[in-house]
């Protein structure tokens, strides 16, 4: 991304938060709906830095893991612990005010999610981003500059006044991704962000993910795209039937998968 130099204001490099957000630990986490467990006894610790890719068959519980970390759902049993406690209602507990978090107010959630099907507001591209900045309580005076940075980052300058819902699939996903970055998150969760995109649009999203990673944002992404996983992953969490089948460095995962399920999945067999 050639635009990233001009985007230092939303970067993470100048973040000097006293307590790091990560690692986040899931201890024996179960999540069930109507008595049926969809996640069983998940124990997992995700640390800072590495790009974590979550893989696994449909319905394995990958999206649930992301939703748990975003705080959209709560574990039925078990515990989820952040090194620095936060909740989505109050933002960071004891977080640093204003400037220390790269201009972000302490009320902004430190974790941001790009949902599989992005929900864009019935407004223009620019209004979608302005809305996010307003919700995140970015001071009015800074919003215009931030808006330009985000539009540039998403390469959406020409689309600023276009209704967001009339954008192409790739542009919608770019908008959703830069909107998630508006919060200057310390951790960015992506749920199959390129599932229905063509290679060019996929490339653009991967560029955004890469530049966020380089600015220090922790990336956790769910994908079914093996090529994408190989391009992005530093480590892979393989989920099968609501359990963590394996959690290994990417190199190991793709060459010598440790679990039976992952071996079957990688060799193209059906894993149910």
């Amino acid at each position: 991304m050639s635009t990233q130099q001009g985007f230092a204001g939303i970067g993470q490099s100048d973040r000097t938060a006293p307590t790091p957000l990560l690692p986040v630990s899931l201890e024996n986490v179960c999540f069930g709906v109507n008595g049926a467990d969809l996640l069983h006894d998940v124990s997992l610790t995700i640390g800072p830095g590495n790009r974590t890719v979550i893989m696994g068959p449909n319905g394995a519980g990958k999206s649930l893991l992301l939703r748990l970390m975003q705080g959209l759902i709560s574990p039925t049993r078990g515990k989820l612990t952040w090194r620095r406690d936060w909740n989505s209602r109050q933002g960071t507990q004891g977080g640093t005010p204003g400037s220390a978090t790269g201009g972000m107010p302490s009320g902004a959630p430190p974790v941001s999610i790009v949902l599989q099907r992005p929900v864009l507001l019935r407004r223009s591209v620019a209004a979608n981003l302005t809305h996010a900045l307003r919700v995140l309580r970015v001071p009015r005076a800074e919003r215009a500059a931030r808006l330009e940075e985000l539009l540039t980052l998403g390469n959406l300058q020409d689309r600023r006044d276009q209704p967001a819902r009339s954008l192409s699939g790739g542009e919608q996903q770019r908008l959703a991704t830069v909107r998630a970055l508006a919060a200057s998150p310390e951790m960015l969760l992506l749920d199959e962000p390129t599932a229905s995109l063509d290679p060019q649009a996929t490339h653009a999203i991967e560029g955004l993910i890469q530049s966020s990673h380089e600015r220090g944002t922790k990336i956790v992404m769910v994908t079914h795209d093996m090529g994408q996983a190989k391009r992005i992953a530093d480590e892979v969490v393989f989920v099968s039937q609501g359990r963590i089948a394996e959690f290994t460095p990417a190199e190991t995962f793709f060459t010598q998968p440790q679990s039976e399920e992952a071996r079957a999945y990688l060799s193209g067999q059906l894993v149910i």
């Binding site: 933002g91 949902l115 929900v119 507001l121 019935r122």
Partner: protein, 235 residues
């Protein structure tokens, strides 16, 4: 047949010459109804949105009551308001009975439940769609209401229009609290009722035509607005 034909001609003449009685009645009707719709929206939009996003005990009861009040018979609303505003009633000292203000209040009582109920429905559907996204951004409950109302804006216009339709067409409530006093509280519907019973069909017909044209005009405007909203993918 002859009589009917001449009534039509006379009605056309009244309309084309902007007959002073007719225009006075039309303008008072518009003033009363538009004010009532404005008040109804002022209350109904936020209240409906609140009902859509808030979860509290008794919410369902309130929703049921609001929905039921959509069908409140205008004469009953007029009667209750009459009891409140009559000289011996609790609001008697305000001396509002038989004034346009009383008529505005009466129609606002009829319009507000409609706007509220439609807003609740529209915003609740939208909230379901936006819920996860909003929560992930830290936007909860009441703080989400302005965003939801703005994104529902084109659908809300339809709700306001339904309110307008009800207020413009009703006769019972304004008749009871307004009294149909010549040059003071006569509106289109009450005049039509009175003039028809007096056999003065031409004025009644003229007003009827105005009333229908007004409805058509406003509906057409809203349809085209929604059409352009759809083109923009805002609906």
């Amino acid at each position: 047949m002859q009589e009917l034909q001449s009534a039509f001609w006379e009605a056309g003449r009244l309309l084309l010459t902007f007959d002073s009685d007719l225009t006075e009645i039309v303008f008072l009707s518009l003033r009363v109804t538009l004010s009532a719709v404005f008040i109804g929206c002022l209350i109904g939009f936020p209240f409906g949105a609140f009902l859509a996003v808030a979860r509290f005990p008794g919410r369902t009861v309130i929703v049921v009551i609001v929905n039921a009040f959509m069908g409140l018979p205008p004469v009953v609303a007029g009667l209750f308001l009459y009891l409140l505003l009559s000289r011996s009633g609790p609001l008697g000292p305000l001396a509002l009975l038989y004034t346009p203000t009383a008529m505005i209040i009466a129609q606002a009582v009829l319009v507000t439940p409609i706007v509220t109920a439609m807003t609740r429905q529209v915003v609740e559907d939208l909230y379901q769609e936006y819920d996860e996204q909003f929560r992930s951004m830290g936007l909860f409950g009441a703080r989400a209401v302005p965003s939801l109302l703005w994104d529902a804006r084109y659908s809300l216009i339809t709700g306001a229009l339904a309110g307008f339709g009800r207020a413009a067409a009703e006769v019972g409530a304004v008749l009871i609290v307004g009294g149909n006093i010549n040059h003071v509280t006569r509106v289109m519907t009450t005049t039509i009722a009175l003039e028809t019973s007096r056999g003065n069909l031409s004025l009644a017909l003229g007003l009827g035509l105005v009333l229908i044209s007004l409805s058509l005009l406003i509906n057409a405007a809203v349809m085209s607005l929604r059409g352009s909203a759809k083109r923009l993918a805002y609906v």
